[in-house]
Amino acid sequence: MAARIGFYICHCGINIAGMVRVDEVARYVSELENVVVSKDYKFMCSDPGQEIIEKDIKEHGLNRVVVASCSPRLHEKTFQSVCSRSGLNPYSLQMASVREQVSWVTDNVDTATAKAKTLSHAAVNRVNFHEELEQRTVTINPDILIVGGGISGMQAAIDIGKSGLKAYLVEKDTTIGGHMLQFDKTFPTLDCAACIGTPKMVETAQNNNIELFTYSEVQEVSGYIGNYTVKIRKKARYVSDKCTGCGECEKVCPVLLPSEWDVGLKERKAVYRSFPQAVPITYCIDKRAQAPCRLSCPARTNVQGYVQMVKAGEYQQALNIIMERLPLPGTLGRVCPHMCEDECRRAAIDSPVSIRELKRFAADRGDLSKVPFEMGDAGDRRVAVIGSGPAGLTTAYYLRRKGYDVTIFEALEKAGGMLRTGIPDYRLPPDVLDREIDNIIEKGIELKTGQVLGEDFSIKELKDQGFDAVFLGIGTHVPSKLNIENEDTDGVEDAVLFLKRMNLYTSTDIPAENVVVVGGGNVAMDAARVAVRAGASGVTIVYRRTESEMPADHEEILDARAEGIEFIDLASPVRVLQGDGGKLKLVCIKNTLGEPDKSGRRRPVPIENSEFEIECGMIIPAIGQKVDTEKIIRDTDIALTGWGTFEIDDTTMQTSEPGVFAAGDAVTGPATVVEAVAAGHKAVAGIHGYLTQGDQPDENDLEPSGKVQNREFVPIPENEPPGKRETPVKTDPETSKRSFDEVSKGLDEQAAVQEAGRCINCGGCCECMQCVQACQPGAVDHGQTDEVIEVKVGSIITATGYDVLDPTPMKPYGYGKYPNVFTNFEFERLSNATGPTGGEIRIRDENNSLTKEPQSVAILHCIGSRDSNFHEYCSRVCCMYALKYAHLIHEKVGHDTRVYNFYIDMRCFGKGYEEFFKKCQEEGTVFVRGKAAEVTRAEDSEDGQLVVVAEDTLLAETIRIPVDMVILCTAMEARKDARETGRILGISQGNDGFYLESHPKLGPLDTATDGVFIAGACQGPKDIPDSVAQASGAASKSLQLATKGEVEIESAISYIDPDICAGCMTCIGLCPYGAIEFDMRRSVSVVNEALCKGCGSCSGFCPSGAAQVRHFKEKQIFAELSGVMDAINNVGI
């Protein structure tokens, strides 16, 4: 049936009529097609106005209505319900905004009238094509989510809980309570925040309808009003709810960190609780990113752990921690090149912690036999470990711990591999090595010495003997050649062999003449220093580059020098000459440094005819070693690399031969002990994987626990004074060079504890596991991981609160520079009974501890508020808490204390506020009208440490007021993560960063997203009473929805015409809500009406127009468009 349109233009008093000739517009429209009635009226939205329409609909049988008035965003609903009331579909209405878009923005009556006509014409054209849409309602899930557990969040939760409905309360901190619980007293009534706050906390926790998620964050919200699905990330707390809050863990925890709750004025442990009344009482362990020392250790030793244990005097536990990853603690405590120390973040303050020395200290103090060794069960599987160097020993020890039956085959008479043959006694005393090897063997490992692979037995035989896996840790014991003329003359002996015979005491004779060592690595240093001890009259080291390129550890080089060893650098040997009387001559050529090579070190370039000779009795080349593979290759065809080392799978350490694994120097070529140990661990993982699940190694063998994703290091403490790095006592070179006794004596106890104290605990919790032992209920669980919980709710209340502005950037106020300039929060804690001073207001003394009573205090208002450089808005609460401070200072410190308030305007707007102001004035607080310009150090003439400089705007003169203490009333600002959180919850921010309410006056609790409400300071600066009021308001908003049980939602959603759709599926990819599915049978796309929100991403693309948004169909838009253009053609623009 043809459209019968009624048109109504509103005067809106004079708002429209004052600029638009409404009667003329009405007349113009009356001429248009299908328009039955066209009227103007003073206030269409008023009851009589609405009645006119209703009457016309009945009398003239209208089936379409156009209202030209204010913006549809104001009154569309009003007029739609007029239609409904008169039996028309609400979508039979179209509005033309002739107020916001015409009368209010135009200053010429003719143009305004013309514009009004065009808009009306467009609306009339459009309404012709409107279609009836049925109202869609969805049921409301009665459960409600509250984000933020501050006073607002708690209040909302309690209100909902009391109503008998379910509330989920998510708080990102470890306790609910929020900022309010950090305060001391509350203005103006001065009742203590805790006294009125903690009962709220308890009530929240005890209400059965409230489910608490502390230390949790909302990660994702999907769905729509009434039907939200929320993913909550429950961060690992590492303490289960078995926790009774007894605090035993806290006592034993060695790690001290600044307490966030006390804004850094106090320290807390790594296992902590914000404050005694925290809810829940459950402790929390503060784990951060894994400490760099631990990460940089090839063997992933828990460095921070044992360092803390040394600090705590728990030496045995320190050793236990080391033994978790290092089976040779004393050895590594002496010879490890300590990559950990290179990464140590303490260096940012002074110098790295002497970690290796602490390891040695722990090893020397602890008792190996007391180290726990719980054996797993691996059935009766047998593994043969060939070679007893660090790689072999590690593999054997940890395989044994997994329960394997392990046999070690060692070619020499004594176990230890390079540790024994390569490292001289003065660096690694044999008894230390023996002790640690014995400890490993004692775990039930069979050691067969004098067994040479390829001679006494073969890999094949081992397999025949029933070994399920074989490990090759045969190291590199074949010297590399110098490749120079007669290097085989006797008197030339490679360092490897030389050190071997010296260390094994097979023969220790050596010509009492000059000895030349060729090379710059640790082996060269060892050979040289051994030669010295063996009685060589002089020892010279020849190296082809300069000292700075030497691969040897720096300490080694220094010690060598100290022992009188000479260095000739930039020289390469070219040939050996047979001198007279058995003497040798080493002919060398001088080098310069050329371009850097692959290793990044500049390569030596020989200088033409710069040859020179060195007389000597012995030449010791120390330029590297190779694997001795010849023997092995005989009976197997294990693949080798170009370097002659074993070729292995990097993850499983398996060689080309199934069941045969390899690690250590034999794989990497000559490397460090700790790298061999690390490789051993990988081999253990590989072998275990191979023998159990028969596939990939177990992550945990490679990366033991403590892995925490996406967290940061503990920041480097700012005002930590630089300290001295403890270094070990060493026997003086003159004595040391004469004997093979150990040169370094290590650290003494006091030095060690001192040194351990320098650790800044980058990783937070050090995983020393002391808390695990201390906790009777067994609540501590370091293995805990974040879990994601999904809840379904009908509405969401956002009460995420505010942050406090950090005044550090405001240099003139000297915060961070002068110790006695405090922020308001610091003052709250100072004055709080649970705070650092137990509630006594004290300022910092010479040694920075809070002991002194302030004689005079200045309170500076509007720090960052009402300040165009920071926040233009007023933070609304500062004036009042400033007054509160003034009162508290007088009350607690004494009434003679001088207290000054520097204010711009006193804003005491609330109930009882002005009275409180008066009271404080009477108490003698001095009020200076004028914002403080600067805080400086006092001059001698002035008593007090600080001086506040300000302009007293009443006296119109600059004043200087000396005080002991300055309190900065810093601004309330939006949460740092407000944007991120807002995106998750679908709330936008205003220019000030706070969340935007749907209407500044009439919609303070609603947001742009239906079913998402805001309460408290996340919407703008607020005091407690306002926050609580808003919270109850938001709660009742949510309850409204819940009790109604259903809500009308957008009917204007997408529809895809199956007769037109070509099934290209592009719309499926474009839909932001995954609301379009593909119907395989008809091969067309279909809209899921429950999910569609009507954004039209699909219709914007669909070339055939199969996808259309109802009420915004092409035909309707085109009609509107033509209407506008026709009208413009008629009446001009």
């Binding site: 290209c1064 599926m1065 990819g1069 091969s1083």
Partner: protein, 376 residues
């Protein structure tokens, strides 16, 4: 993966036909879609051949190009099925298939694409008057001529505009490429360009051959020449359609028959929006509009239709020229659409038919991109 073979017979066509025959005989594919000479009429129409014997009428190299077979490929593959089909396609037809695959209108899973370096085509009108009746001798004659002369030399003015400004006459995505042999007028070289292709050729037991030497230079030369043609054509098109008024003149003979749309391989809509109710206006609207504006050219919405088509297919246009081929009033659509497509595709640095992986520019977006589009 690339293997080269040669087949020698009495003529190019024979050689090609014997290839198609043995292809079907391998049983690797159930059917073959190939241009085939129709009995009596001599029309060359894509035909789905299943009996190997029927390949003796195949005529893949003829300059006849009655329609873009991509649409047929869509019909053959749109819904999944287990039968495997081989199709002989011109490069522009392959590009169209690729675009249709992205739009879920075709599927390559059971498709074997055979192609050859394209010898260009004549407009239907030209081919049907004078060349069609000459029969298959003409095809051999035509190929020889084209091979000896410059590849792009316009065979006495009969090659269609689209082919003269072709964006790429060499098959990009194909399993097997079969080409007349330069050196020997009686043989074709067969090259496998994919594993599938290689596998199939292996079944056929062809003799190995040397890969053609001059390939690269030839292509380079051809592309340059086509490039020059394109520039000229786009230039003159630009002048003819410099503004909406000129564009109106350009389209003034359009009768809204929508043949161009029907012929277009990438116009994939099942029903064109211009046939939907959006565009069936109330009788009164025509009269009103005529009244407000003095007069109304009918059929109306002509320019709207063509501009919309540019928006819809500009990014997918493969330059096959079938739009022009189909126009009853000889509006030189191919030049215009190809020049617009050129701009559109460059704008998104997108090549229609280039690769399946490349997303259609309007089917995706990034948060941080195209920042020059906004702002005032």
């Amino acid at each position: 993966m690339n293997s080269y073979h040669a087949i020698g017979r009495n003529s190019y066509l024979d050689a090609a036909r014997s290839f198609f025959k043995s292809l079907l005989e391998t049983g690797e594919v159930q059917s073959l879609l190939v241009p085939l000479r129709q009995d009596r009429t001599n029309d060359i129409m894509p035909t789905l051949v299943s009996d190997p014997e029927d390949t003796d009428k195949a005529d893949p190299f003829s300059p006849s190009f009655p329609l873009n077979s991509a649409k047929l490929v869509s019909r053959l593959t749109r819904k999944k099925n287990r039968k495997r089909v081989a199709v002989f396609l011109r490069p522009c037809e392959i590009r169209a298939v690729v675009e249709l695959v992205k739009l879920k209108q075709a599927d390559m899973e059971n498709l074997v694409i055979i192609s050859s370096d394209c010898f260009s085509a004549f407009p239907n009108s030209v081919f049907n008057t004078g060349f069609r009746e000459k029969g298959e001798e003409f095809t051999n004659e035509y190929i020889s001529a084209r091979m000896s002369a410059s590849f792009t030399d316009d065979y006495n003015g009969s090659i269609s505009e689209a082919c003269r400004i072709c964006t790429d006459p060499f098959p990009g995505i194909a399993d097997i490429v079969i080409n007349p042999d330069h050196s020997d007028a009686k043989q074709v070289t067969v090259e496998s360009k994919s594993d599938a292709g290689g596998h199939i050729l292996a079944q056929m037991g062809l003799d190995e051959a040397e890969p053609p030497k001059d390939g690269k230079e030839k292509r380079k030369k051809v592309m340059e020449e086509l490039g020059r043609n394109r520039e000229e054509t786009f230039q003159s098109i630009q002048e003819q359609t410099a503004d909406l008024e000129k564009l109106g003149v350009f389209f003034s003979s359009c009768v809204n028959c929508y043949n161009c749309r029907v012929a277009c391989p990438v116009c994939y809509c099942r029903e064109c929006v211009f046939n939907t109710d959006v565009f069936d206006h109330e009788p009164l609207q025509y009269i009103n509009r005529s009244q407000t504006r003095g007069s109304l050219r009918m059929p109306s919405d002509t320019m709207f239709f063509h501009l919309t088509r540019m928006i819809h297919i500009g990014l997918s246009c493969v330059g096959c020229g079938q739009c022009a081929n189909a126009c009853p009033n000889d509006i030189p659509l191919s030049g215009l659409f190809m020049s617009v497509a050129d701009k559109a595709q460059k704008g998104f640095d997108y090549t229609s038919g280039g690769s399946i992986e490349e997303n259609h520019p309007l089917s995706c977006f990034f948060e941080d991109e195209l920042n020059d589009v906004t702002g005032i």
